[in-house]
Symmetry: C2
Subunit: 344 residues, 2 copies
């Protein structure tokens, strides 16, 4: 471990000069600066984090901009758990996170959260840009030099520090592959597109349909349902599915509303022989998975996403290390037999 002292000795200057070079606070001649910088590189100097934290008074505050925790069947609680866990681990490094939550269906609400977050003068942003239209508009207003990390979904063309998420196309492909294994590659399956949709959700469906096309003789039919309609809307679409597709082998649901489909299937006594595949280990889905009314859930490691998001900011802002540009989380397959070992 080379310390600032070793550098100073080798460069024949004082530690004060080395400090000025490292922190770029001027008052150093070009010649000295270059010499010190060369030696820093040569010795692979990395500041001792303990010494730094001992002397540093600065606290690091990260702003988290994401949907309200209760929305999407309480899905957002999971990323929040990961964020909280990371903050607990990094507490001694003076890292903290503040939430700015928005209504997942309101651009105005996103805008408010976004502005409030920036107004709090944070050291970094962790954003779930589920409302891509408004996010795309506001991202450029982030001050130069303020790092921001996307999780869940991304906004192309921005220079975010890191993106953490799942490959939605591949997850759809996986779902279709599972369903084909079970049906023997034959029969009717329904694809439920839950509206309002977003890029992520469309990619899942595209992946699923691509898988079906590449398979044998399984046929898939797309159904749309507006989630604002709540349970009745799902009951309605499931009713249509059961009537139209005979014999029905499986249903693919494009997001966490899977439980509403399972519930409707149960209500119609139509669940027998039909495999329901959907997304996310939210409490209601867990219930139907355990009952056997949902066959598989695909999980996108939401708490990991939150956790890694904070860590990415920490490594960049506090440790000043290079961080990964993208972190793809695993596509976890959950059944009633392994679900108890996943915590989201």
């Amino acid at each position: 471990m080379t310390s600032i002292k070793d550098i100073a000795a080798k460069a024949k200057v004082s530690i004060g000069t080395v400090d000025r070079v490292l922190h770029d606070r001027g008052r150093v001649s070009d010649e000295t600066r270059n010499r010190v910088q060369r030696i820093v590189r040569e010795l692979g100097y990395r500041p001792n984090i303990h010494a730094r934290n001992l002397s540093l008074k600065k606290v690091y505050r990260f702003a988290v901009i994401m949907p309200r925790l209760s929305q999407d069947s309480e899905y957002w609680k999971f990323p929040a758990n990961g964020i909280d866990k990371a903050c607990r681990e990094l507490e001694m490094y003076k890292v903290s996170a503040t939430y700015f939550l928005f209504d997942r269906y309101s651009n105005a609400s996103f805008g408010r959260a976004f502005r409030e977050a920036l107004g709090s003068n944070p050291d970094g942003l962790l954003i779930a840009p589920v409302l891509s239209r408004i996010a795309e508009e506001l991202i450029p207003t982030i001050p130069q030099g303020l790092p921001y990390v996307f999780f869940d979904s991304s906004i192309p063309g921005t220079d975010c520090l890191t993106f953490i998420g799942q490959d939605p196309f591949q997850s759809g492909l996986l779902a279709s592959s599972l369903l084909q294994s079970i049906t023997g590659g034959e029969g009717n399956v329904a694809v439920i597109k839950v509206m309002p949709d977003d890029f992520h959700l469309r990619e899942r469906i595209r992946g699923f349909l691509t898988g079906v096309e590449g398979g044998k003789t399984m046929t898939a039919k797309l159904f749309e349902v507006d989630s604002h309609g709540g349970e009745p809307a799902f009951a309605d679409v499931v009713g249509r599915i059961v009537k139209e597709l005979v014999p029905l082998k499986g249903i693919f649901v494009s997001n966490a509303w899977t439980h509403s489909v399972a519930r409707s299937m149960q209500a119609l006594s139509a669940a027998n022989g039909v495999t329901v595949i959907g997304y996310d280990l939210v409490p209601k889905n867990l219930h139907y998975l355990e009952q056997g009314l949902i066959g598989f859930l695909i999980s996108q490691c939401p708490s990991t996403q939150g956790y890694e998001g904070i860590y990415s900011l920490y490594e960049h802002v506090v440790l000043r290390e290079k961080v990964k540009q993208t972190i793809m989380v695993p596509i976890d397959i959950l059944t009633k037999n392994n679900v108890k070992y996943y915590r989201g």
Copy 2:
């Protein structure tokens, strides 16, 4: 954050006295000791980890006792990766690990590794007690107060700090459930028990058979194969399976030798319509999974096991915190469609 200074002030003693009380190195009157201890409790004092590390010269060395990395189809490289990752993260806390590898099939070799590990005077042990007989014998010789963590498998009746592993029974149950979904709950499946076996492996098979019994009309037949016989032994048993069980719907392999089964199935051109389920993301299994000759692999998050093992020791020895008694890792289901997002 209350510091040792605050305690000293409140107790009207010097920080030296507080330090002596905290570290229990005598030379303090009972009255003073009690007063200080009370204040420590009242103020909820926790040492500042940065200050501690800055002043501490002690390095923590953990000894890792596990099979040679090349064994079990290179399975053990994965836990080693997790261990290395943890060590990299904890490098600044002066934590390091030393490997003491043994031959997975030799009690004498385990004994040697064990004695060498103890001889190196470590601050903690991380052990994969795959040779349960000899391990059971040697564990009691661990000096009092030296913490040890088991991963992969456990030795009941010992007071290890933590056990990290997977529920093997449940993983077998999961495998049978997957196979029943695919076969529609009917037809013949083969169960391959790879010898020499151990508790873990037997539990997986017990789980699988329990699942089959609870199902519909699927019938399972058990086959044993000695892994010392290598590829020919597997070719032989697969030949028998294909001949005996007609029509064959699936094969469950109890450990990482799954690739040899897939290979033999391919050689016999008997892979069509047969779903092979086995364990562990070792390189050869990955290959056959991608080819579609292995349908599912069950992974036990081996790198996580190594990672968590080191962390458990770290938290106990360095931070002196309470740690979890058992950590059950998820039962990951891998297919060719999601495998690329798992790194073991």
